[in-house]
Amino acid sequence: MNVLSRGVRNAFRNKIRTFSIVVIVGLSVGMALAMLVARQAVTDKITSVKSSVGNTVSISPAGVRGFDGGGNALTAADIAKVSSLSHVTSVTQSLSDRLTTSDTDLESAVEAGALGQRFNRGSGTTGGDMPTPPAGDGTATDGTTATQSFTPPVTVIGATDPETALSTSQGGGTFTLTSGEVFAGDSSENVAVIGKGLAEKNSLTVGSTFQAYGQTIKVVAIYDAGNTFSNNQVIMPLNTVQTLSEQADAVTSATLNVDSIDNVASVSSAASSALGDTADVTNASEQAESAVAPLENIQTISLYSLIGALIAGAAIILLTMVMIVRERRREIGVIKAIGASNLNVMTQFASEAVTFTVLGAIIGIVFGLVAGNPITQLLVNNSASSTASAAGGPGMGGGQGMGGRGIGAVGRTVTNVTASVGVDIILYGLGVAILIAIVGSALASFFIAKVRPAEVMRAE
């Protein structure tokens, strides 16, 4: 038998006390683990939500969205201002334009249909009230008749990064190259990457040509965006579109790529300041921040609860060990008198404390395994509902317009948090137990060191 095994054995000298201590420490460790599990699950979710939003800031001319609204395009000087901002790693730019039948020989892959006829009937007018919704045959319910000869235009996007150009268009979608190779971002050639629908409609393949702006444009690649609208578009080099459309230096959309999600808000703010009223600056991270706010509250709550549980566990062990040392003061004196060093005695008592806490940790780990996920869910649900109540809106989607819908979608995602207890959590549990034992034994060790072997004679 050595000091360690003596310490383990000493832990069972008073079985009722040992049982009580182990249960209390077990609850403490269990609570700490449950909080750790909740914190880890919530942190993972926050990271996931934030990373899904992306590290980008979008800039468009003030008052313009796609081909709606009005205003002036951004200029090269504007782009230069935002390019030089701190934390901006790169800027992708695009210039959108529409090719009508007089500009191109391309035939749109999208039929006008009733909606197209309806949307086109007001083009060229200078205002007036919005008409009532159209009937199925293109005749509006207010009696106006849509222009029957309308053909949907083909959208051309001049881009510095053809693979992300679709994100700036109204159709969106995921750019998937089906054939050919995309052009370089700084190209000035008369080349184009065209959508799958447009290629099929006009029987174009890689290497084919078409006419636009009075020039012959060569198809270098074909993409599939996964939706009909985006597959009816043409992507060309920005320089080429600026030249051919006679809009030198004009940009209708710019995307700032930021070095970290944490800097998106500051870059967004700096870009707004730099561009003033000439541009609308938006970033999705603001929506994400609002959506994950309840989770961040849980992060904070779980951290404080974790620390509280640790302190409680350590305090229990500390007081227990101090009590035990006081109880065994005479025994410590005897052991020291027959040759034990302070280290021997401290090791023995630390071993006793570790025994208490490891047994407590086993109970705590079981508690954490069982209660980790329910506690996390409870925290998430309570936090989400209280946030919604405070906002006065229906659930997480209390906002208006696009932003509101965005928050709602992300909000529904963030409440779907699943906590799991892995090996790492179990190891954390044991680590917590050892930490509690060390902290809890510290004061006891001080008292042990203070016990003088001569006291054993005085007690005689």
Binding site: M1, N2, R13, A337, P453, A454, E460
Partner: protein, 224 residues
């Protein structure tokens, strides 16, 4: 040889300095059995603490095997207590949750004696003091006072010390058991060539020792 020269130990009690041991000098050669008698509060236990390196003298020297323990640092004193001193206490002071065998093995563990060697020696010592194999595996609470004191003596002898210090070793025992324990202590001291200094109230015990000192008001005088 135990050599004590001009040892003083005083304590502060408020504004008063109390001399528990006052200029004590004596010598006990190896293998001798000496007793110290004195009234309660005469300083017997304080002197025993000083001899056992449990406390340090205010002045003077205590030399065992040519080494002055009054000049040793705390670390050296631990080694000294472990290797050179054996204690026998009035109330036995065995560790309650260890068996008799484990109690005797304990000082050898602190002296870093190998497990087999310390087990063998502990068994041998317990056999010498008259414990049966069954009694060796019992915890102190399951042994009689005399048996506990015999375990205590075996523990004191575990590391083959030069000096055994016994504080009222028969004080908690009936006269017959006390006599048996004293004889055991005496015989073992002779067989192991160990010096024994015992503090006692029992004059019949003191009479049987080789030398007897009387401590009165911190002053020591040899009476036999």
């Amino acid at each position: 040889m135990l050599q004590v020269e001009n040892v003083k130990r005083s304590f502060k009690s408020g504004d008063i300095t109390v001399s528990a041991v006052n200029d004590v000098s004596f010598t006990v050669p190896d293998g001798q059995f000496a007793s110290i008698i004195g009234k309660s509060g005469s300083g017997k236990s304080t002197l025993l603490s000083l001899l056992g390196a449990l406390d340090k003298p205010t002045s003077g020297s205590i030399t065992i095997d040519g080494k002055d323990i009054a000049k040793m640092n705390d670390h050296a004193l631990i080694g000294y207590r472990c290797q050179k001193i054996g204690f026998v206490f009035q109330s036995y002071n065995l560790v309650p949750n260890l068996t008799a065998l484990e109690n005797v093995m304990l000082p050898m563990e602190f002296a870093k004696v190998g497990k087999k060697e310390r087990t063998d020696r502990a068994v041998k010592l317990l056999e010498q003091v008259g414990l049966t194999e069954d009694q060796m595996t019992r915890k102190p609470g399951k042994l009689s006072g005399g048996q506990q004191q015999r375990v205590s003596i075996a523990r004191a002898l575990a590391n083959k010390p030069k000096l055994i210090l016994a504080d009222e070793p028969t004080g908690n025992l009936d006269s017959q058991t006390g006599k048996m324990v004293f004889d055991l202590l005496h015989n073992l001291a002779k067989s192991e060539d160990t010096t024994i200094v015992t503090v006692t109230h029992d004059l019949s015990i003191a009479d049987k020792t080789d030398r007897t000192f009387q401590l009165q008001d911190g002053k020591l005088t040899e009476v036999k």
